[in-house]
Symmetry: C2
Subunit: 395 residues, 2 copies
């Protein structure tokens, strides 16, 4: 995409020759907006990133995997600044336009030697390698089993005719995924021309409907970052209400698809489920009920067992704090009703629902029949493999 270059290399932070250091470089300073974790325990790069983003500009993003630079005290913050400073010096850009992100193990000091030898390699790579985007995408992964890239194009009508712009979304995330925010790093790049304030507003709205509605295991990380950079290198100028709507919709789609990829790649996941709670009397109730279902280990293990266990789903809604009248609820697996007005429809309906459960993507709809408010969550099932991955991660 116009205005952006990418690189990803193995600097020696991770073992086995895996790529672990990536860079996004903008030809000119890009307009920037970002969302960070709402966890009160935050990693050094997030503290630094919050400062940097205030100016609404960014020209380079350095990301390492294998080390989260979290719980590393004041030294961690000094180290984060030092890596930003290396990028600034070697690429000749102002240090305050450099964002850094880290992801990986918490508590170990950042291996600065690896950055000293790695960053010059990034410079070589970025000028020669045409496969930089893929390398970058690989370099930011941790327990992910696959790369996560989304590409979309949009059009904006202007007095000078229709002008195209592009969006590329890149994410990593597989465990420690939950709203506020889902644990991950995600970068969305666009060549659209948009103001920092509008970009921030669009990103916040897109985040709310995507990364804030997914869960793998209910834990938030200390390093979550969603960063959006707009180079303005295309002729698509996003200023008026209509073009902002077009941009907003596409940005939301990119974020939603990335979010879905993260859930699909959730640690040990075998299925992606969308739970929609409708008919709630308040928006908060719709959120609470869908969140409780998405986070329930009992629901998640039942889905892993391909069991349309409506008792666990309704019980999770019942404890969520949302107003629920058990005699009014309808529950659907795909288009198959299994409970209507609180009554189980019997073995035939259950057999049909059980067939839906064999799919790798499942829609479940719980209608509370108390109002007109709706919310929904994407989540994955819970398998023995999730336990295995997380019991073994550090040891």
């Amino acid at each position: 995409m116009k205005g952006f270059k990418f690189a990803g290399i193995h600097a020696g932070i991770k073992m086995k020759g895996l790529k672990d250091l990536g860079l996004i470089l903008c030809e000119k300073p890009a307009t920037a907006a970002a969302m960070f974790t709402r966890n009160l325990v935050v990693a050094a790069p997030v503290i630094l990133g919050r400062e940097t983003i205030k100016k609404g500009k960014c020209q380079a993003v350095l990301v390492n995997s294998g080390n989260a630079n979290c719980f590393t005290g004041n030294q961690g913050l000094l180290d984060a600044r030092a890596t930003a400073s290396m990028i600034a010096r070697i690429f000749d850009i102002p240090q305050e336009l450099v964002m850094v992100s880290s992801t990986g193990v918490i508590g170990a000091p950042l291996p600065m030697e690896r950055f000293k030898t790695g960053i010059p390699l990034l410079k070589e790579e970025i000028s020669t390698n045409t496969n930089g985007l893929e390398d970058f995408t690989q370099a930011i992964l941790t327990t992910d089993t696959c790369q996560k890239i989304v590409r979309l194009k949009g059009c904006i009508d202007t007095p000078q005719g229709s002008k195209q712009f592009s969006l590329i979304g890149i994410a990593k995330g597989s465990g420690m995924i939950r709203p506020d925010m889902a644990t991950m790093l995600a970068y969305v790049l666009t060549d659209a021309n948009i103001d920092a304030g509008d970009l921030h507003q669009a990103l916040a709205a897109a985040n709310e409907k995507s990364f804030n509605r997914i869960t793998v295991d209910g834990d938030t990380s200390t390093n979550d970052t969603l960063l959006c950079l707009a180079s303005g290198a295309s002729e698509a100028c996003v200023r008026d209400k209509a073009s902002l709507k077009v941009f907003q919709d596409l940005l939301e789609t990119v974020c939603f698809r990335l979010g879905k990829m993260i859930v699909k790649d959730g640690e040990g996941a075998t299925k992606v489920i969308q739970i929609t709670v409708r008919g709630a009397s308040t928006q908060e109730d719709a959120f609470k009920a869908s969140e409780a279902i998405a986070h329930s280990n009992l629901v998640k293990t039942a889905i892993y067992g391909e069991d349309p266990n409506w008792g666990r789903i309704t019980a999770a809604a019942g404890r969520s704090g949302a107003v629920v009248d058990p005699d009014k609820v309808d529950l659907y697996f795909g288009s198959i009703p299994l409970v209507l007005s609180g009554c189980w429809l019997g073995l035939d309906a259950e057999k049909k629902a059980a067939r839906i459960m064999k799919d790798s993507e499942i829609n479940i709809i719980l209608d509370l029949n108390l109002g007109d408010k709706t919310d929904s969550f994407l989540f994955c099932d819970l398998s023995e493999n999730y336990v295995k991955i997380n019991a073994d991660y550090r040891s």
Copy 2:
């Protein structure tokens, strides 16, 4: 114990000849207090139980396992009443003094024929069998792997000298365990003489510090019931402040030990952990932080892997909503400090902490160093077996 008789039989509700129908019978109407699930989706026996307990009296408790009589609509409520009526008729006691509890699969109608043939068998058993308490304890189990009984004796000083009284606590519970309330059935019986109001107050307080502070998997059931019956058959009269304190302390101990047994028998559990959060600035913060840690799948899997993963513990506290200053926290595994003032103490300390992790009972203390409020939770680890048990439960 004076004033109570017990029985437990196989009535054919569960398969493989397992005991599934139990009865507690009081010689005379006992003073009664009870707590029920706070889930809004409740089973028929809970609806009935809430009515019955209002009078503060109870003479018989019928419990079946294998069927929860939940999501069974109006028929479920009629069935629950019908079983209470059978007990009343056969044992010649007023129907409004009969409590019923059900636990097991949600959604299937109560198999009334099994009760019709089973209840007369209970009558035979209760008059001839001296092993009734153990049979009853077995009859109420579902996925539990062991019986849960606690026996304690206490003394109250009276003008007529010291008077002894006894407490017996019986519980079932292994999955769907979380506060408000932990999912389970628990019955505490005493021969102390105490008023219904005092009994209710004592039970509420004991519940708050025991069953409301344990979790296995974060889900509440639809059938949770904690019932306390006082026969008054001993000479221990619990009336004044001092004797109420003695009774309260013992009741709390019984409930806490039963709660611990439930966590220890948590589905797939290999370890019991007590997390204590101290130094919180408010009581609510201490609760929130300890609850978030106890419910974190990442913490639970790390403990299963015997990994003193302080990053996950502090991150869970950080997202809990409690005020946490990462630079101030201390973290101990047993008596071993691993983090002091937000700084990791290094590999030697971690090795010592890792040795503590091999125990089957582990104490973890997180000191926020922001105030003087403390709370704590009992929880278990999360193993592949938890997933296996819950993926296979109905199928």
